[in-house]
Amino acid sequence: MKLWALVTLTGSVAALSQSYAAPSAAAHKTPASGAIERIGGHPNFSGVWSVMNTANWNVEPHLASAALELRPGPVVPVPAKAVVALGAVGSVPAGMGVVVGGSIPYTPEALTQRQENQKHYLERDPEVKCDLPGVPRANYMPFPFQIVQSAKTLLISYEYDGAVRDILFNDPGPAPIDSWMGQSVGKWDGDTLVVTVTGQNDSTWFDRAGNFHSGDMKVVERWTLMNENTIRYEAEITDPATFTRPWKMSMLMYRRLGEDARLQQFKCVEFVEELMYGDLRKEPLK
C-alpha cells in the first residue's frame, strides 16, 4: 500500500487533487485553509477518498494472523495449502475494528454460519471472485473511491471493480429488483449526508472474515465532513434474519491529495479467469 502523505494545503485543493494536471485556467475559488467547501448549500464531498484501516480484512477487532484461511497444523493452525506460497504477503494485518462495541450481534445460527464461512473462506468470499462488493464494504476496501458531487447529484465511483452508486435524492420507493450495490436514497440531516441503502442481494459480505448478512439488510449511512480532508463515516446495519439487534460501524475516511488523488481502474474480472474458468481451458494448465 502507498504511503499516504497528508500534504499540507498550501494551494487549491482542486489543483492538488489533479495529479497529472496543471491548475486549469478555469481555476476555482479556493476555500480558506481548513474550511469545508460547500455546493448547493451542502458540504462538498467531491474528491478521492479512502480509509486507512483493515476493516476489509475483518470489521471486528483482530490481531494479525497467518492467513485468511487456515488449516490444522501439528502445533498451531497453519495457512491453507492454496495460500501457503504467499508467505507473509498472504497474512492478515491487525486492526482495531470498526464495529461499535467491538462485536457483531449475530443470532446463534448466523454465528455458526460465520464460522463456516471462515473455514471455507477461499471458495466463499465474493471478493475472491471479483464480485461487486455491496455497501458498506465498498467504502472500506483497500482501494480509493471518488465522489463527484454537484448541487443536485452525488455519484460515488469505486476503484474496485468499477462499482458505482448514484445517490438518489428523490426516493423512488422500494428497489424494483435486488442488486449487488443496492439502491441508495440520500437526504441531508444538517451537514450530514444520510443514505439509506436497501435492495441489496445476500451475496455480498462485510469483509474477508466471513461476516455476512441476508438479502433483507438495511444500511443507513451517515457521512459527515469533520474537516476538509476527513470524513466520519457511520453505517447502521439492520437485518433481523442475521442479527439480534441493529449495530453500527464507525470509521474515518481520508482525502487523497496530490499525486495520490487519481482514481485508477481495478477491473479484476480478468484476474480471476484462471480461478473460475481455468479447468475449462482446451488444455488446462498443469
Binding site: 489533479q18 486549469s24 461487486l132 455519484l155 481502474q265 477491473k267
Partner: protein, 361 residues
C-alpha cells in the same frame, strides 16, 4: 438473490454500432440558453441515451446525402417497428436453435435470433440532429463512411476471434464481462443493441460518465494533462476543458484491447458535448490516427433524456454464458474424440465380425 444479467451472447453480429457524425456548428434551439451548474459550468448532468436506428457509417445507397427524406425515415422506422413486432411474438418452445431463421435483422442469424424484442433496446427512431433525420453519424468524410485505411492495417473482427472457445482470454471482452460489446463507453461513445444509457455527473475538476454497460465510469479530468508514463487504461486517458457552453474531452493512450475500428496506438478522439436544448445534448466527435486512416473522421449525434434511471448491469456476477461457451466447446471436443475413437473401431468390427462374447466398443 443474484441479479441476472443480459449476457452478451452476441454471436457474430456485426452491429454497425451507430453514431452520428457532425458538422462543427452546434445550432441550439432558438433562444435556448444552456444552464450553468453551481460551479459555473455548462450543466450536462442527467441520464441520457443515444439509442437510435441510425448507424455510425452511412448505408451506401444514401451516397453523400446525410439528411434522409421523410419517406426514407418512414420506411426505416416502419421496418423496425415490424421487426420489433415480429420479435415480440412468442417463440415456439419446440423450436431448436437450428430451426431459427438464417436472418432475422440487425445482422443476426441462427442462434442469435433467439433474442425476443423485449430483450433488446436499440432505439426505434432515426437520429435527429437539429431536427434533421440523419443517415449516419459520420458527416466527414462526406460519404458518411470511415476514410480509407492505410496499406497494411488490419482490423480484427471483434466478434469472430481466432481460437474461439479454447480459453477465456480468446473470448470477446463482452463475453468476459470486461467491457460492453460494441463501443458503448467509447470514446467515441456508440449505441448498440441495448442499454444505451449514460449518466453524467460534474464536480469542479471531474466529469464522470457512467456507462450502463458494464458499469464502466469514464473519469474526465478537467484541466488535466494526459499521462506520459506509457500506461493505457481502459477507455483511454481522458482530459477535458470547457469552451463556452461546450465540454471538450480529448482522449489518448487507448489500449489495444479496445481499439476503435482498428486504431489505438496513435488514436486521438476529441468529443464535444453541448447542451442545445432542455432535452438535447449535441455530441460531436473527431477520431484521428494518421497511422491507420488516410485522414481524420468526424461526426455528430444528439443525446436525449433516458426514461428513468440506470440500473446495475452486474455482468460478471451472472456470467453463466462464458462457462457455458467453454464447457460447450469441451463437450464438442469430447464428442468428436469419442466419435473418432468409435469410427475406426466400427470399421474394424464391420470388416471382421467380433467373436461372440467380445465386448463391443
Amino acid at each position: 438473490m443474484s441479479t441476472k444479467k443480459l449476457t452478451a451472447l452476441v454471436l457474430g453480429a456485426t452491429i454497425s454500432a451507430s453514431a452520428m457524425a457532425a458538422a462543427s456548428a452546434a445550432p441550439a434551439d432558438a433562444a435556448y440558453k444552456a444552464p450553468l451548474n453551481a460551479y459555473g459550468q455548462p450543466d450536462l448532468e442527467g441520464t441520457w441515451t443515444n439509442a437510435t436506428l441510425t448507424t455510425l457509417e452511412r448505408p451506401k445507397e444514401y451516397g453523400t446525402r446525410k439528411v434522409m427524406t421523410p419517406e426514407e425515415v418512414k420506411k426505416v422506422e416502419g421496418d423496425d417497428a415490424k421487426l420489433v413486432a415480429d420479435g415480440n411474438k412468442p417463440t415456439d418452445p419446440k423450436v431448436k436453435t437450428t430451426d431459427l431463421p438464417h436472418e432475422c435483422g440487425r445482422g443476426f442469424s441462427g442462434a442469435g435470433c433467439g433474442y425476443n424484442s423485449a430483450w433488446i433496446d436499440p432505439g426505434s427512431t432515426v437520429m435527429r440532429v437539429s431536427g434533421e433525420p440523419r443517415s449516419s453519424f459520420i458527416t466527414d468524410p462526406a460519404d458518411g463512411r470511415l476514410p480509407p485505411y492505410k496499406a497494411g492495417v488490419t482490423v480484427p473482427n471483434m466478434y469472430m476471434r481466432p481460437h474461439y472457445g479454447e480459453n477465456p482470454e480468446n473470448q470477446t471482452l463482452a463475453e468476459r464481462c470486461l467491457t460492453s460489446f460494441g463501443y458503448s463507453a467509447g470514446p467515441v461513445m456508440l449505441p448498440l443493441l441495448y442499454n444505451n444509457n449514460y449518466e453524467i455527473a460534474q464536480s469542479k475538476d471531474t466529469v464522470a460518465i457512467v456507462v450502463e454497460m458494464v458499469h464502466d465510469v469514464r473519469m474526465i479530468h478537467i484541466g488535466g494533462k494526459h499521462r506520459t508514463d506509457g500506461e493505457r487504461p481502459w477507455m483511454g486517458d481522458s482530459v477535458g476543458w470547457y469552451e463556452g457552453p461546450t465540454l471538450v474531452v480529448e482522449t489518448t493512450n487507448f489500449p489495444e484491447a479496445t481499439a476503435l475500428r482498428g486504431a489505438w496506438k496513435e488514436l486521438k478522439v476529441t468529443e464535444r458535448f453541448t447542451r442545445v436544448g432542455p432535452n438535447r445534448i449535441l455530441y460531436q466527435f473527431k477520431a484521428e490516427d494518421p497511422t491507420v486512416w488516410d485522414r481524420p473522421w468526424s461526426g455528430e449525434y444528439e443525446f436525449t433524456p433516458s426514461k428513468g434511471r440506470i440500473f446495475e448491469y452486474a455482468c460478471h456476477e451472472g456470467n453463466y454464458a462464458l462457462e457455458g461457451i467453454l464447457s460447450g466447446a469441451r463437450a464438442d471436443e469430447a464428442a468428436a474424440a469419442e466419435k473418432a475413437k468409435a469410427a475406426p473401431a466400427n470399421k474394424t468390427a464391420a470388416a471382421t465380425p467380433a467373436p461372440s462374447g467380445t465386448k463391443k466398443q
